[in-house]
Structure formats: structure tokens, C-alpha cells
């Protein structure tokens, strides 16, 4: 029951945070003077295209850009009615992209779940690589196993992602006939889900997952190794040894369990780091994630699109942190029973 209460509490704090984030995002996006439409109107006036001006003026009133900033905010979120009644984020209307001249929801539709997919795969990759390597490096510290793992790790940290991407594409295509660029074969784009489409996506994801995950995995591995080394010198490890526990079991049951906390706590940080870190990679690899859209929107002050993408990344982060917080409560009795006992 305690846990359920905590989950509810955590969910509400998440909503509260999300609300604060929405204000920040909106303010920051509106900090530079002017907006997409006023820039465009100025440009059209200068070149004397009157009909374009009319359309832009229409969009300005349609999306309430002529109103004070606080009103714009309330309308955008959906707290107060705009020119067309309540129609904001809460109601599921994400606004209009002036750059692409289409509703935001339509543009990012596919990209959203592809982003989630690519990044989840990358996170999974990070954990699958970092966990065994980190534990091994700590258990065999100061031997060739440790040094090799460390070397590979630093290599992963030091290699620029896009460079790694290009190299992998070249060799992946040459030796394994892996596809280059994109997240699926162009014939499947806009098609309904099918077995072949899934297969194509999976095949296309191999290189991006590797590229986006490597540096994260390297950093995580080093952290886990350091945590494990700390734990290995603790007296409870000695106790377990004095019980007659075999080394592998001992390692898994006691120090790993203890070293796991920071590992779990990192889930929250990992997600946004990967989303924002993978913008460049997505551009280079031609991935249809929201990364490239974010870049384009920020460059042209396409405010609704940019704001939506930022809100989405914030939501991912908050969900990640919530998951890791709740896992920690489940995993660590000291947090669960905090305040009781010593």
C-alpha cells in the first residue's frame, strides 16, 4: 500500500513538474524577438507579395499570436479558449507548424514512436553492454580483463558519434549488407504495420542503436566498475565470504545488488541525454526521429513545433525519473523504510 501511495504521489509531482516545464519552454522559445510569422510578414512586405501577407495575418489571429504572451501560453496549453475554443496540448491539439505548413501532430506522428523505439533500444543496449563488462572489470580489477574493458570503454567515449556512424555504415554495408540510413526501407513509409515493415525497421536499427548507445555504455560501465570496487571492499562482502559462498554467487547477490542503485537511478538521465545527444546522429544517419525536426524548428523559430518537441523530451525524462524512483523504492528497503530504524 505504501508503494501505491508513493506511486500516486510521484505521479502528481510529475504532472506539477511538467506544468512548470511547459512555462519554461514557452518563455524560452519566445525570448528571441519576433516569431516565425512576423518574420515572414516582414519578408513578404519587403518583396511586395500582398496575398502571402494576408494568409500570414490570418494565421497570426488563428493561433492567437497577436495576443499578450501569457494569453498565448494559456491557449497553447489549453487552459483558456483560443479563437476556436479550447484547443491546446491538453485537448490533444499540438498546434501548427509554419515551417512545414502542416499540423504539428501530423508531422511528428510517426517520428514520436520511432524516437521512443530507437532510444529504448539504445538504453537497452547500454545496460546489456555495461552490466556484464562493468561487473567483470571490477571483479577482475587490475588484470588484463579490466584493462581491455577500460580501453574499449574509453575508445567508445572518445570516438565522435557521427564518425562512428559513417564507419559502421560503410563496413556494415560492405560485409553484412546492412542498409544505409533511415529507419526503414522507403517503400514502407506511411504504410500500415506489417511483418516485413517490422523486419525492415529492426534491420535499420542495428547501426543507430550501436552508435547512440556506445558512449552511454562506456560511461555507465566505468561508473558501475567504480561502484562495484567500492562495494567489494565493504565488510559485508567479507561476511559472505566467511559463510563459504562461491565467488560468482557472492558477487551477484551482495555487491552487485548494492552497486545497482546508481545504475537504476540513471535511467531518468539516460533518456533525455540520448534524445538530445542523438539529434546530430539522426541528421547524419537520416533517422526519422524527432531530432531533425527539433533542429529545423529551432532554426526557423517554428514555435509550436519546437515547443512540442521540447515538451515531449521533458515528458520522456520525467517518466524515466519516475520509473527509476519507483524501481529504487522496490529495490532498496532502506529507501522504502526510510526514517524507520537507524
Amino acid at each position: 500500500m505504501m508503494f501505491l501511495r508513493y506511486a500516486v504521489y510521484r505521479f502528481f509531482t510529475m504532472l506539477l513538474t511538467l506544468w512548470v516545464v511547459s512555462i519554461l519552454v514557452f518563455v524560452i522559445i519566445n525570448l528571441p524577438p519576433g516569431d516565425y510569422l512576423s518574420n515572414q510578414i516582414a519578408e513578404l512586405r519587403a518583396t511586395g507579395q500582398a496575398e502571402g501577407v494576408a494568409k500570414a495575418e490570418f494565421l497570426r489571429t488563428e493561433y492567437a499570436l497577436d495576443r499578450p504572451l501569457w494569453e498565448q501560453y494559456l491557449i497553447w496549453v489549453g487552459f483558456s479558449p483560443g479563437p476556436n475554443g479550447f484547443s491546446g496540448l491538453i485537448q490533444g491539439d499540438f498546434g501548427w507548424s509554419f515551417e512545414f505548413d502542416r499540423p504539428v501532430g501530423e508531422i511528428v506522428g510517426d517520428a514520436l514512436w520511432l524516437t521512443v523505439l530507437v532510444n529504448l533500444a539504445a538504453v537497452l543496449f547500454v545496460y546489456l553492454i555495461a552490466l556484464p563488462l562493468g561487473v567483470l572489470a571490477a571483479a577482475k580489477s587490475e588484470t588484463w580483463v579490466d584493462y581491455t574493458a577500460g580501453f574499449v570503454g574509453y575508445l567508445g567515449l572518445a570516438t565522435p558519434n557521427f564518425l562512428l556512424a559513417l564507419i559502421l555504415f560503410y563496413y556494415g554495408h560492405k560485409y553484412f549488407n546492412l542498409p544505409i540510413g533511415g529507419l526503414m526501407d522507403p517503400v514502407y513509409e506511411g504504410q500500415p504495420m506489417s511483418w516485413l515493415k517490422v523486419k525492415s525497421i529492426l534491420l535499420h536499427m542495428i547501426v543507430p542503436t550501436f552508435v547512440i548507445g556506445t558512449s552511454g555504455a562506456a560511461a555507465m560501465m566505468q561508473r558501475l566498475r567504480a561502484n562495484m570496487l567500492d562495494e567489494l571492499s565493504k565488510p559485508y562482502v567479507e561476511t559472505a565470504k566467511a559463510k563459504g559462498l562461491a565467488p560468482a554467487k557472492l558477487l551477484a547477490k551482495y555487491p552487485l545488488r548494492m552497486a545497482f542503485n546508481p545504475f537504476v537511478a540513471d535511467i531518468g538521465n539516460l533518456l533525455p541525454a540520448m534524445v538530445s545527444g542523438s539529434v546530430l546522429v539522426s541528421v547524419v544517419l537520416g533517422l526519422q526521429t524527432i531530432g531533425p525536426y527539433l533542429l529545423a524548428a529551432l532554426k526557423s523559430q517554428d514555435q509550436f513545433l519546437a515547443a512540442f518537441v521540447l515538451m515531449f523530451v521533458a515528458l520522456l525524462t520525467l517518466i524515466g525519473t519516475m520509473i527509476s524512483d519507483m524501481l529504487l523504492v522496490l529495490l532498496d528497503p532502506r529507501i522504502r523504510y526510510g526514517g524507520r530504524g537507524a
Binding site: 561476511t239 529495490l331 530504524g341
Partner: protein
């Protein structure tokens, strides 16, 4: 019958360096207790760990034999493979460690950790092992074994955790138990009970015990055989009655002289005069609010309640109590680092006849002046000195902060302070890691003295030190007090230490002072059951005066378990009454 465990000419070393354990031999019989006695660095811990071969990786066992003649025949453990050793560990020879908190995993339930032993050695599943584990829990004194099975270590007190450790070591019915300073981290009353428990379990099972300790009092209460070690060598070995009765070696005699003892007192002391008080704690209560997280209700904990204490100028007032009794909170309030709850105040009298200053209500200038005159010496000399500051910097920093003198003056003062605490002024350029524990504590005392304070608050200044070093530090503190007319507020858990240095003692329990008197009065005529328990629990290095466990049990429990006259529950404690001049006891009229 051959001894069950025989260590013969064991030598252990690290790398190419000189051996740290040299030519150590001893043997222990079934049903007998052998005490390995020595100070830190004597090699006693390495020796006992080598029996289970759980030494640090860099340590090499260079020569010798460890013959274990258990029920499965005699083997030389030094030749045994890692696989064979795992059969022995926890099964035939088991071990308990010094710090029960850190030696148990905080993430696993006690039941799981104890039953694991049976899982490893008998192949039992958790639930199959449960019955045996519960039985063992009952034997080590858990009132509710089921609850202990479900508990996590951090939900228990130190004594209970050590009982759980003992249950874990005993559950597979080992033939030899190695106890490495099993009670050093415990309060003295808890220590008495845990020692009693080990003795009782030994009588029941007939196992042999190797007890590693630095405390001759513990030896006298437990051991039949004694091995005294120093710097890796055996100094003296033999039957406990012989070694303790008439120590043959100089080193043993030195340990004896250093062991603090509660003196036999022929008559009570005269009441302390109170005409020149330097520090006055008046009605100090301190409540902490624990906020564990947004979704839980905050918990209110009262660390100390209605504390009234006066430190007389040039004298030592000692506050004695177990961990959690509120003594450190009192010290922190006295220094102004915590504010007492409304209604309490602390007054500081800078000089005789001068107006008192309220410690928690000072101007910035007054506060700076107060900080010069009241200084603190901390418990752990290893963590209270910055490892990155030279001794010179550490000693001159206080003068730096208070802008006293120029560089040369400060340096001279630092050198003078080093001489005062018995160190060589040449050492100013060194870093703290180059000093031993006792030397570091001298450094912290020197640092506290650089501002020529009038009041020194010592928070367990000797409890992290070896007995012989403790003796030196106490002598030093006494000399400085008499030489510089200092006043001490001395916090300790050890009555025997306090017996020596204090002019007045306040015994604290559960946040309140239960008895207060000059030490001689307290030892001559202890009134409160808790004070009696504290005195009775003190292990004396004299085999004819064993610990009276019944007396300990009577007073060491919760305040609700005390005799009618003293009993209280929670906040409604009876008042502190003056029995005779200068002797106050908290009891119902």
C-alpha cells in the same frame, strides 16, 4: 585429545616487505576460549583471518601450518584448495566481525542472510531452513524470531544486529567460532550481554572460540587461554589465570596499567561547589523533525529533554551514556551549533564575575569571540583532520580565521602547541597520514588549543584509540587542563575513562539525565538501575570479578522495564531529585 585448531609458526607478509605476522603459534581445544590480545597493528586480525584464508589479496601466508582437527579428520588449512575452504567456512569454522551494521547486507532480510548458510552447506531451500533459523534466533535472544526473520539490519539496534551475526555464525553448528572484536563497536551494557551470549552458546555446543580483542577486561570474562601479540609477534601466551594474574612480559604489564578501571571507592566525594560556572545549560530540550519524503508524515524525535548542566571553571563535567542517549546533541547545543527548543538556553560566562552571554543569541562580534573561547575535540582523529592540509596549515588556520598575529607569530604558536601536546615541532611540514591515531588526536587537541580557549568540548576523544594510547591522551588532557586552567565538557560512553578525568558525572539515558554526582559518589553509592548496570557491565581485567549479568539486565533495558521507583514511559519522566548534597537521581518520590 588433540586440540581442534592448531596454528604453528605462521608467518604472513605483504609483497617483499618484512612479515607483519611472524612465527605465531597457538592451539585451542574444543569447548575452550582462546583470546588473541593486542593493539591495532599487532597482527591479531590477520592471524585470525588466515584460519579461514580470507586475507586481503596482497597478503601471503609465507610459512607455517594451520591444523584443523574437526569431525572430518585433520587437515592443514594452508594446503586446502579454495573449494575445500568454502566447505569449511561458515560450516565448520565460522566468524563474527566487529561492525554488525556494515558486516550485514542492508538490502537483504536477516532471515535470508542467515538461512543462506544452511543453503550453501546443507543445500536446504529458504523455507526448509526457516525452522532451524528461527530456533537459532530464539537461542541468541530474539523475543520474536518471526519478526527478526523478516527484518532488515537497519531496523535493529547494534546489539540486536550483533546477535543476528552470531545466529548466522552459529546456525550451521560450527566447531570453531572466530570472533574478531565482536563487542568493540557496542555500548558497554550491550557488550556484557553479547559476551554472556557467546559464553552460553559455547557451553551448549562445546565449540572452541577464538576471541580477538584489545580489551583485557573482555579477556578476563571470557578466555581460558591468552595469546598477547605485539607487532606481529607473540609476546606472552598461557592460561588466562596465569597471564592476567601475574603478567610475565613487560608489554602485557603495560597493557594492564593502561586498562581503565572503575576504582573501588571507600567514601563518597564532597558535593561540588558551584560558585564560578563557565557554561550553563538551562532546561535544554532538543526535538528533531525527521522528514523522510514527501509522502510520509514527518516524525518528531526528542534527542534530549530538560537537560540542566553546569560546567565549573577549571573542572571537568562528563556526560556519560550509550549511543542514542542524547549526549552528543547536548554538546552540539552547548557549542551553539544546534538551537535548543523554546524555553531552553545556554549561558557562557567568559570570566569570573562577568556578565553571561546567551550562546544562541549573540551578535556576530560576540559569536566570533565565543568561538575563540570554546573549542571542540572530535572523536575520530582520522576524519577530523583534512588529509590535504599540512600540520602547519591545520594548526594556523584558526588563527588565520580570527586574524591573530602575523605569519611568523602563527608559526611559532603552532610549534609551541605541538610541543605542548608532546610532538616534535619539526613535524609541522608533514601531512596527517604520516601520523598514528594517537598522534593525530594530539594534533586535533593542539588545533583546538591554538586559540587559547577557556572551554574545551571533547566528544569521545579516546574511543577510537588503543588502550595504551587512550591512557596517554587522557594524561595529556589532564595536564593541559591544570596547566592552562581549562574547563572540559567531556562526552563519553565509558565510565572507566570518565572515572579518571571527571570532577562530576551526568549519566544520560533515553534523552534525560538519570543520575548526576561526582564520580566517587557515583561509584560508592550508585542509585539508579542504569548507573548500576553501567558499572556492573564494565569488564575488569580481573578474573575474580566477572561481569554480573543480572545486574546489567536489570538496568540496561528500556525505561519502561526499570523498577517502579524509576520507571517512565516517553516524555513523562520523574523529576531529578537530590538524594544527598551533590547527588541527584531521577526517580519518583
Amino acid at each position: 585429545m588433540p586440540p581442534i585448531l592448531e596454528v604453528d609458526a605462521l608467518t604472513i607478509g605483504f609483497g617483499n616487505a618484512e612479515p607483519v605476522v611472524r612465527d605465531v603459534s597457538f592451539s585451542v581445544n574444543a569447548g575452550e576460549t582462546l583470546a588473541l590480545v593486542g593493539e591495532s597493528g599487532s597482527g591479531k586480525t590477520l592471524t585470525c583471518r588466515s584460519v579461514l584464508k580470507i586475507l586481503p589479496e596482497a597478503a601471503q601466508m609465507r610459512s607455517g601450518r594451520i591444523t584443523f582437527a574437526g569431525s572430518s579428520g585433520a587437515v592443514n588449512l594452508l594446503d586446502a584448495s579454495e573449494r575445500q575452504m568454502r566447505q569449511v567456512r561458515g560450516n565448520q569454522i565460522s566468524m563474527i566481525f566487529q561492525e554488525p551494521m556494515r558486516s550485514l547486507s542492508p538490502l537483504h532480510r536477516l532471515g535470508n542472510q542467515v538461512a543462506e548458510v544452511l543453503h550453501i552447506h546443507r543445500g536446504l531451500s529458504l523455507s526448509a531452513a526457516k525452522r532451524e533459523v528461527l530456533e537459532q534466533f530464539e537461542k541468541v535472544g530474539f523475543v520474536d524470531p518471526e519478526r527478526a526473520w523478516r527484518s532488515y539490519p537497519f531496523e535493529m539496534s547494534g546489539g540486536m544486529r550483533q546477535r543476528a551475526m552470531i545466529a548466522m555464525a552459529m546456525v550451521a553448528k560450527p566447531e570453531v567460532l572466530i570472533a574478531d572484536e565482536p563487542t568493540t563497536a557496542l555500548d558497554v551494557t550491550t557488550q556484557a550481554q553479547v559476551l554472556g551470549l557467546i559464553r552460553k552458546l559455547q557451553q551448549d555446543t562445546g565449540m572452541a572460540v577464538i576471541l580477538v580483542t584489545h580489551d583485557l577486561g573482555v579477556v578476563a570474562n571470557m578466555a581460558q587461554q591468552v595469546v598477547v601479540m605485539n607487532k606481529g609477534r607473540v609476546m606472552e601466551a598461557g592460561r588466562a589465570t596465569d597471564v592476567l594474574g601475574a603478567p610475565a612480559h613487560r608489554y602485557t604489564a603495560k597493557l594492564f596499567a593502561a586498562a581503565p578501571m572503575i576504582p573501588e571507592v571507600a567514601k563518597p566525594a564532597r558535593a561540588m561547589a558551584r560558585d564560578d560556572v563557565i557554561l550553563d545549560l538551562h532546561n535544554v530540550t532538543k526535538t528533531f523533525t525527521l522528514r523522510a519524503g514527501g509522502w510520509r508524515k514527518p516524525v518528531q524525535v526528542t534527542a534530549c529533554r530538560d537537560v540542566n548542566l553546569q560546567v565549573e571553571r577549571g573542572k571537568t563535567l562528563a556526560v556519560v551514556g550509550e549511543s542514542g542517549s542524547g549526549k552528543t546533541t547536548c554538546a552540539r547545543v552547548a557549542l551553539g551549533s544546534e538551537r535548543p527548543d523554546a524555553g531552553g538556553e545556554v549561558l557562557f560566562h567568559p570570566g569570573s564575575g562577568q556578565d553571561p552571554l546567551p550562546v544562541h543569541d549573540m551578535t556576530t562580534a560576540q559569536r566570533t569571540a565565543f568561538q575563540r573561547e570554546a573549542q571542540m575535540v572530535f572523536q575520530d582523529p582520522y576524519s577530523s583532520l583534512s588529509p590535504r592540509m599540512r600540520v602547519l596549515d591545520a594548526l594556523t588556520e584558526p588563527m588565520d580565521i580570527h586574524k591573530i598575529g602575523n605569519r611568523a607569530d602563527r608559526r611559532d604558536k603552532a610549534a609551541e602547541m605541538l610541543r605542548l601536546v608532546g610532538l616534535n615541532p619539526d613535524m609541522l611540514g608533514r601531512y596527517p597520514h604520516a601520523f598514528s591515531g594517537g598522534q593525530r588526536q594530539r594534533l586535533s587537541i593542539a588545533r583546538a588549543l591554538t586559540l587559547d580557549p577557556k572551554l574545551l568540548i571533547c566528544d569521545e576523544p579516546t574511543s577510537a584509540l588503543d588502550v595504551s594510547v587512550q591512557e596517554q591522551i587522557l594524561t595529556l588532557l589532564e595536564d593541559i587542563r591544570d596547566h592552562a586552567q581549562l574547563s572540559y565538557l567531556f562526552i563519553s560512553h565509558d565510565l572507566a575513562v570518565v572515572a579518571r578525568i571527571a570532577d562530576e558525572v551526568a549519566v544520560m539515558r533515553a534523552g534525560v539525565i538519570v543520575e548526576q554526582a561526582p564520580p566517587d559518589t557515583l561509584f560508592y553509592n550508585p542509585q539508579h538501575p542504569y548507573t548500576k548496570a553501567l558499572i556492573a557491565a564494565q569488564p575488569e581485567p580481573d578474573m575474580s570479578r566477572p561481569i554480573d549479568l543480572q545486574l546489567v539486565a536489570k538496568g540496561a533495558g528500556a525505561p519502561t522495564s526499570w523498577p517502579e521507583m524509576f520507571r517512565f514511559d516517553g516524555p513523562d519522566a520523574p523529576a531529578l531529585r537530590e538524594l544527598e548534597p551533590g547527588h541527584m537521581v531521577r526517580c519518583h518520590a
